[in-house]
């Protein structure tokens, strides 16, 4: 199974065991030098950044458990004296559940579409040897850095012409398209790690490209596929511009847009808004807990957009 191991490097080197190629291995026992002493200046800097990240997050959580009146009187950093779930209840009353459901539908659609398209395209790009696959790959590379905003007007025009305006599909299609370049790049990388001998063995076995795809490529590109799934799910879950432009009615509202509308509608109810923000992020935290590795590598891909 040497084919899969290169793809694993750099995923999580937190445990530099004997198999961890990226973890440092040279520990000279006894030689207590600067390399093994804690770096106080750096530690202090990290602590400062911890405050910069942690204090707002604490203020966020604290606010959501405070009564609105208490939030205004006690100040932002006080511990809630009388914790309440009212804010969460209000967020749900305001239709959050429906927005979450819409977002789940959009996310499932985007992930299904992106995985189907990028895995097949990755296979063609890696294994086909002709000008077409090369130029396909170049086109996707060029598409890598095209921001959504740059083409939102024609996308809007196309969606209107297709009669899809104000539907969940209208969000799914462009979101999937704009996830493709990064996903194809990730998959092409992970498929190149599959050794040629395995393809030869499949060919000798009489397998056509379809069987090779399902029995060799898909199983061995597993880690790449899960990265791609997580990346596209993040794009769909957190997407804002496409829903903002391409949908209108409340029944097609996804969570990011729902939060934005909350802000307009309940300007003074900051605690309720923040509770909705927290609820909207819970699913991602669950994914984080279950699939940390895929999430981290998926996030690496997010940087590309």
């Amino acid at each position: 199974m040497t084919a899969t191991s290169p793809a694993r490097t750099g995923q999580d080197a937190r445990t530099p065991g004997p198999a961890g190629p990226s973890g440092g291995s040279g520990r000279h026992a006894g030689l207590r030098s600067w390399r093994h002493r804690p770096n106080l200046v750096a530690g202090l800097g990290a602590f400062v950044w911890l405050l910069v990240v942690g204090v707002p997050l604490y203020a966020l959580l604290a606010a959501t458990f405070q009564q609105s009146s208490e939030y205004r009187s006690a100040g932002p950093l006080a511990l809630p004296t009388d914790p309440t779930l009212d804010n969460y209840a209000r967020a749900i009353e305001n239709g959050l559940a429906g927005f979450v459901l819409n977002t789940i539908l959009v996310t499932v659609g985007v992930v299904a579409l992106v995985v189907a398209l990028s895995v097949t395209a990755g296979y063609a790009i890696v294994r086909t040897r002709n000008w077409m696959s090369d130029s396909t790959f170049r086109m996707f590379l060029l598409g890598l850095a095209i921001p959504n905003q740059a083409v939102i007007i024609p996308v809007y025009l196309i969606i209107v012409q297709m009669g899809l305006y104000d539907s969940l599909i209208a969000i799914v299609l462009p979101t999937a398209a704009f996830s493709l370049p990064v996903c194809i790049l990730i998959l092409a990388g992970s498929m190149r790690d599959i050794s040629d001998d395995l393809y030869e063995a499949m060919a000798l076995d009489g397998a056509g490209s379809g069987r090779t795809f399902f029995q060799l490529v898909v199983p061995l590109a597993r880690s790449g596929i899960s990265t791609v799934a997580v990346y596209s799910a993040l794009q769909a879950w957190n997407g804002f511009l496409f829903p903002l432009i391409l949908t209108q009615s409340a029944e097609n509202r996804v969570i990011t847009l729902g939060l934005y509308e909350f802000q307009g509608a309940y300007r003074t109810d900051i605690a309720g808004l923040l509770a909705a923000v927290v609820l909207a992020t819970v699913p991602l935290f669950i994914v984080y807990l279950i699939a940390r590795r895929s999430l981290v590598s998926g996030l690496m891909g997010v940087g590309g957009k």
């Binding site: 750099g10 063609a124 850095a145 905003q149 007007i153 990011t256 900051i270």
Partner: protein
């Protein structure tokens, strides 16, 4: 499917050698040819991407030559939008602001992410817990982050209304002044993106061979000399990747600007993507907005070409190398 037949063009390999050498797992010459899939496998993705990404890029150029209010058909008007664009003071300001935001973001985010990343790659005991907290902003959407900060900075209902009087500045409102609003955008985007770049640098720093540091120590170099002469040069590639991502990313600060400042006060935070949104979806001048979008496409294309050129993404290798 006969497409799986041995590669027909196998014998014309020499003229294809550039592509061949670029593929890391290249076949041994003379080895039995494995079945090659037809390029048709890539067609669905190609058509889909063509319809929703490539076609719009062509269309946006055409639309920039038209006037269109969102209803009916766009009317061709030639270069009118472009002449207006060149003379539009708001566009000039938007370009200036976008450049300032890009440069500012880079200058703020790079040193912090680099230092945090190098620190997080070490072996401190509390590192795992701290890294987990650093990680949280990555899970929040940019809309959520913008909403959180807008709430926290609200001059009437947010914590600032409490903290202001405490530090002797009642009525403290960053968002009401031009430089304050710009600073908030710069800060919020740093808050949002530094964790990602920290991850990149952490990965890069972990790839540096320990032996280099051992050698440095034997040569009598201290921690800071080692940082300057080993860590920094070794992180060169990571820095390129991260910098390009930052530059491209600062073109997409739209959500943050829309939610926190609405481009204001005045036009103090109207960066190019926001100007495009405002012209198109608020003033219904889609033709003019398309011209603005063309500028974005041009900048983004240049950035992506640079990205392909300098980061090795185009070398058809595993993308995770160097991360």
């Amino acid at each position: 499917m006969s497409v799986a037949s041995p590669n027909r063009d196998g014998l014309t390999a020499p003229e294809r050698s550039p592509a061949r050498t670029a593929r890391s797992g290249g076949a041994r010459p003379g080895a039995p040819r494995a079945g090659r899939p037809s390029a048709l496998w890539g067609l669905p993705a190609l058509l889909f991407f063509g319809l929703f990404a490539v076609l719009p890029m062509v269309l946006v150029v055409y639309l920039s030559l038209t006037t269109w209010g969102g209803l009916g058909t766009p009317q061709f008007i030639g270069m009118e939008n472009w002449t207006r664009l060149v003379g539009d003071p708001v566009m000039h300001q938007a370009i200036g602001l976008t450049v300032m935001l890009t440069v500012g973001s880079w200058a703020v985010q790079t040193p912090i992410s680099l230092l945090l990343g190098v620190w997080a790659a070490g072996r401190q005991r509390n590192r795992a817990v701290l890294s987990a907290i650093f990680f949280v902003p990555l899970l929040l959407s940019s809309a959520a982050i913008a909403l959180i900060w807008r709430a926290l900075l609200d001059p009437n209902f947010g914590p600032l209304a409490k903290i202001g009087p405490m530090i002797g500045m009642p009525g403290l409102d960053f968002l009401s002044s031009e430089s304050g609003a710009f600073g908030v955008i710069l800060f919020v985007s740093a808050w949002q993106f530094i964790p990602l770049h920290t991850l990149l640098y952490q990965g890069g720093a972990r790839q540096i061979p320990e032996s280099l540091y051992q050698a440095a120590e034997i040569d009598g170099a201290g921690r800071y000399r080692a940082f300057w002469h080993i860590t920094l040069p070794q992180l060169r590639n990571t820095m390129t990747t991260s910098s390009v991502l930052m530059v491209v990313g600062s073109l997409t600060y739209f959500d943050t600007v829309l939610i926190i400042t609405n481009g204001g006060p005045g036009h103090a935070t109207t960066i190019v993507p926001y100007l495009m949104y405002e012209a198109g979806f608020q003033n219904y001048q889609y033709g003019y907005a398309s011209a603005v979008a063309c500028v974005l496409v041009a900048v983004a294309t240049i950035a992506s070409l640079l990205m392909v050129r300098f980061t090795g993404f185009g070398k058809m290798r595993s993308t995770r190398e160097g991360m």
